[in-house]
C-alpha cells in the first residue's frame, strides 16, 4: 500500500483568478499540514491554469500540480474524475480537500466512490487527532439544526469545505514553492455526459457573496413587488438583495440570489432579514454575518433566536420609515 502523506487541495479558478474558496482551503489546509508535519499541495485543473500557481504558493501551498489541458477547459464529470484519479494515485495524499461548490458537489462523491474511500461533504471545521493522525470532520446536518463529527479510516480521507468556513492566509509573495507539470491522462472518448454550453444569468449590481450588506426577503414579502421595495435600502447600504427558497420557488426573484444550505453562502457585515422565518436551512447560508437584523411580524419567529437586533412589525409599515431614517443617518 502506498504511503499516504500530506494534504492536497483541489483548486478552482473563477474568471482567471484563484477562487476564494481555494484560498480559504489553503489557509485551513496549511494548519492541517503543519499539525501533521507534512506538506500542503494544490492541484489546479483546467485550461490555462498554470498562471495561478504563483498565487497558490503565496496563499500557502508548498507544491502545485498544474494539470493544464484543453480537455479540462469546461468542467465535465468524467474528465475531471479521471484526471483527479490520476493525480491522487501519483501524489498519494493523506487528505484531499475540495470546495463545496458546483464542481466539488459533483466531483467529490464520484471520485470518492471511484477511489473506494469515504468522504464528508460541506465541512465547516477540520482538525487532526494528534494520536491517530486522523482527520476530524465536522459538518452541519439536518439542515443546520445539528452538527456531526466524523472520522474515516480509508485513505485518502476526503472532505469538501463550505465557503467562508476557513480563513485564507495573508498573501505572501515571498513564499517559495514547487510547480509540477502533470498530465491529465484523460481519454476524451470516455467522456460520456458532455458540456454543451453555459448560459449566464447575471444579476445587476453588487455581487451577493461580496456585498458588505445583504437585504434578504422571504415568503412574507408576498411577491416580486415586495422585493422591489428592498432595492432602495440595498442601494443606500451598497448591498445586494438575497432571498429565501420560497421566493425562488414562486418565481419572484432569480435563483441566483437564494441564500442558504442549497443557495449562496454569505457573511456580510450586516444582514437584514425581512419577512423570513429564519429556518435552519436559510441560516446555514448567512449565520456567519457580523450583525443580523430582523423585521418580522411574528414575535415567535425563529429569526429572533438568530438575530442581534429585531423589531416585531409588518414590513409594509416598517420598511419605508426604516429606509428613510437610514438615508437620513447616512447623510449625516
Amino acid at each position: 500500500m502506498a504511503d499516504y502523506k500530506g494534504v492536497l487541495v483541489c483548486g478552482e479558478a473563477i474568471e482567471g483568478k484563484l477562487a476564494g474558496i481555494t484560498a480559504e482551503m489553503l489557509g485551513g489546509g496549511r494548519k492541517l499540514a503543519d499539525k501533521l508535519g507534512e506538506g500542503l499541495a494544490v492541484v489546479l485543473l483546467g485550461s490555462g491554469v498554470k498562471g495561478l500557481a504563483a498565487e497558490a504558493i503565496a496563499c500557502g501551498a508548498d507544491k502545485v500540480y498544474a494539470v493544464d489541458d484543453a480537455v479540462l477547459k469546461d468542467y465535465q464529470t468524467d474528465a475531471y474524475v479521471m484526471a483527479m484519479e490520476n493525480v491522487v494515485s501519483q501524489v498519494a495524499p493523506r487528505i484531499v480537500l475540495m470546495g463545496q461548490t458546483s464542481m466539488g458537489r459533483d466531483l467529490a462523491p464520484r471520485l470518492a466512490f471511484r477511489l473506494k474511500t469515504a468522504l464528508s461533504m460541506d465541512c465547516i471545521e477540520l482538525d487532526i487527532d494528534p494520536q491517530s493522525k486522523q482527520l476530524i470532520q465536522t459538518r452541519p446536518v439536518y439542515g443546520g439544526n445539528a452538527r456531526a463529527i466524523f472520522t474515516t479510516e480509508s485513505l485518502p480521507q476526503m472532505a469538501t469545505v463550505r465557503a467562508k468556513a476557513m480563513s485564507p492566509l495573508p498573501r505572501d509573495d515571498s513564499r517559495k514553492g514547487e510547480v509540477v507539470d502533470t498530465t491529465a491522462g484523460v481519454d476524451a472518448s470516455k467522456i460520456r455526459a458532455k458540456f454543451v454550453q453555459k448560459v449566464k444569468e447575471e444579476v445587476a449590481g453588487v455581487k451577493l457573496e461580496e456585498a458588505p450588506a445583504v437585504i434578504a426577503g422571504g415568503r412574507g414579502l408576498g411577491g416580486p413587488d415586495g422585493f422591489k421595495q428592498l432595492e432602495e435600502l440595498a442601494r443606500l447600504l451598497k448591498g445586494a438583495i438575497g432571498a429565501t427558497r420560497p421566493a425562488i420557488d414562486n418565481g419572484w426573484v432569480p435563483t441566483s440570489i437564494q441564500v442558504g444550505l442549497t443557495g449562496k453562502i454569505v457573511a456580510p457585515e450586516l444582514y437584514i432579514a425581512i419577512a423570513l422565518s429564519g429556518s435552519s436551512q436559510h441560516m446555514a447560508g448567512c449565520s456567519g454575518s457580523k450583525t443580523i437584523v430582523a423585521i418580522n411580524k411574528d414575535p415567535e419567529a425563529n429569526i429572533f433566536r438568530e438575530a442581534r437586533f429585531g423589531i416585531v412589525a409588518d414590513w409594509k409599515q416598517a420598511l419605508p420609515p426604516f429606509t428613510k431614517k437610514v438615508q437620513e443617518l447616512l447623510k449625516e
Binding site: A112, F113, G278, F309, I311
Partner: protein
C-alpha cells in the same frame, strides 16, 4: 422510457427548529412528537422530473426507497403522484447506513430491476444533507451522471440537462442509461390527485430483503459504513436578540435605525 426514482423518508425538515432534539447518548435525532415523516423534498422533485419525462415520452416509473419502519402512506406518495411501482428495501439490517452502504444497496436493487434509461435522485437528503448517494449509485453502476438538474428532457435518445451553477446554468448532454440528481429549481412537485391516492392505496409495495438483492451483508447498514459518527450535537446559540420597541411599526422601525447607528452597525 424506463425510469427509476430513489426516495428517502426523513423527519420533516420544515418542522420548527425549536422542536429539533438530539439524544446525545445515542447520537440520534429524536423526531418531534406528532410530526409525521416526509419524503425528502428534493426526492419529491426527482419524482416530478420523472413524471415530466413520462408525460412527454410515456414509460414506467419505479420508485425505490431504502430504510426501516417506512410509513406506507408516506412512501406511497410518489405512486399517488403518478409513479407505477414501489420497491422498498426495508429491513433492520439497512439501519444506520451511511452514503456508502446506502448507495451500495440501492445499486444492487437497481441491478436486480435490470433495464432502465434514467435514474433520478434528489440532490441531497434533508436529514444528513450529504448529496453523495446518487453519484455513488452512478459510480457503482458505471453509468454517467449529471447533478443539480433544473430541467431534464429526453431528446434524440439522449438526455439534455440544465444544470444549476452559481451564475446561471450549464447545458449537459448525456447518453442513456444515466443518473440525474435534481434541485428544487426544477419546479414544485405536483399534487397527488384524489384518483392517484386511490390508485396508490391499491398498489402493494414490493419488499426486498438483503438476501433478495444479493448484497454482501458486511457492506450494508451500519456494518457497511465507511464514516464513523463520533458525535452528534446541537450547536449552542450565544447572542441574544435585542428587541427594539416603539409605539407602532413605523416608530419601531425608526428606533431600530437609530439603535443600529448607535451600535455602529450603520
Amino acid at each position: 422510457m424506463e425510469l427509476i426514482v430513489c426516495v428517502k423518508q426523513v423527519p420533516d425538515p420544515e418542522a420548527p427548529p425549536a422542536s429539533f432534539k438530539v439524544d446525545t447518548a445515542t447520537n440520534k435525532v429524536v423526531p418531534p412528537p406528532g410530526v409525521p415523516p416526509v419524503i425528502s423534498t428534493f426526492d419529491e422533485t426527482a419524482v416530478e422530473a420523472a413524471l415530466k419525462i413520462k408525460d412527454a415520452k410515456g414509460g414506467k416509473i419505479t420508485v425505490v426507497s431504502l430504510g426501516n419502519n417506512l410509513v406506507r402512506d408516506v412512501v406511497k406518495k410518489p405512486l399517488a403522484m403518478g409513479a407505477d411501482q414501489l420497491i422498498l428495501l426495508e429491513d433492520p439490517a439497512y439501519e444506520n447506513s451511511d452514503s456508502w452502504s446506502t448507495a451500495y444497496a440501492l445499486s444492487m436493487a437497481i441491478k436486480k430491476i435490470g433495464s432502465f434509461d434514467i435514474i433520478f435522485c434528489g440532490r441531497q437528503a434533508a436529514d444528513w444533507d450529504s448529496g453523495q448517494v446518487g453519484l455513488g449509485i452512478a459510480e457503482l453502476l458505471g453509468i454517467p451522471s449529471v447533478t443539480l438538474a433544473k430541467k431534464v428532457e429526453s431528446v434524440d435518445g439522449k438526455v439534455r440537462v440544465e444544470r444549476i451553477v452559481p451564475d446561471g446554468f450549464e447545458v449537459i448532454e448525456s447518453p442513456t442509461p444515466c443518473l440525474i440528481t435534481v434541485t428544487n429549481e426544477l419546479g414544485e412537485p405536483r399534487y397527488a390527485p384524489l384518483k392517484g391516492i386511490m390508485k396508490a392505496a391499491k398498489i402493494q409495495p414490493v419488499v426486498w430483503k438483503p438476501q433478495d438483492i444479493g448484497v454482501d451483508p458486511s457492506q450494508i447498514g451500519a456494518s457497511g459504513r465507511r464514516t464513523k459518527l463520533v458525535k452528534l450535537f446541537q450547536p449552542v446559540k450565544e447572542g441574544k436578540c435585542e428587541m427594539v420597541e416603539g409605539e407602532n411599526a413605523a416608530d419601531a422601525a425608526v428606533k431600530l435605525a437609530l439603535r443600529l447607528r448607535e451600535a455602529k452597525v450603520l
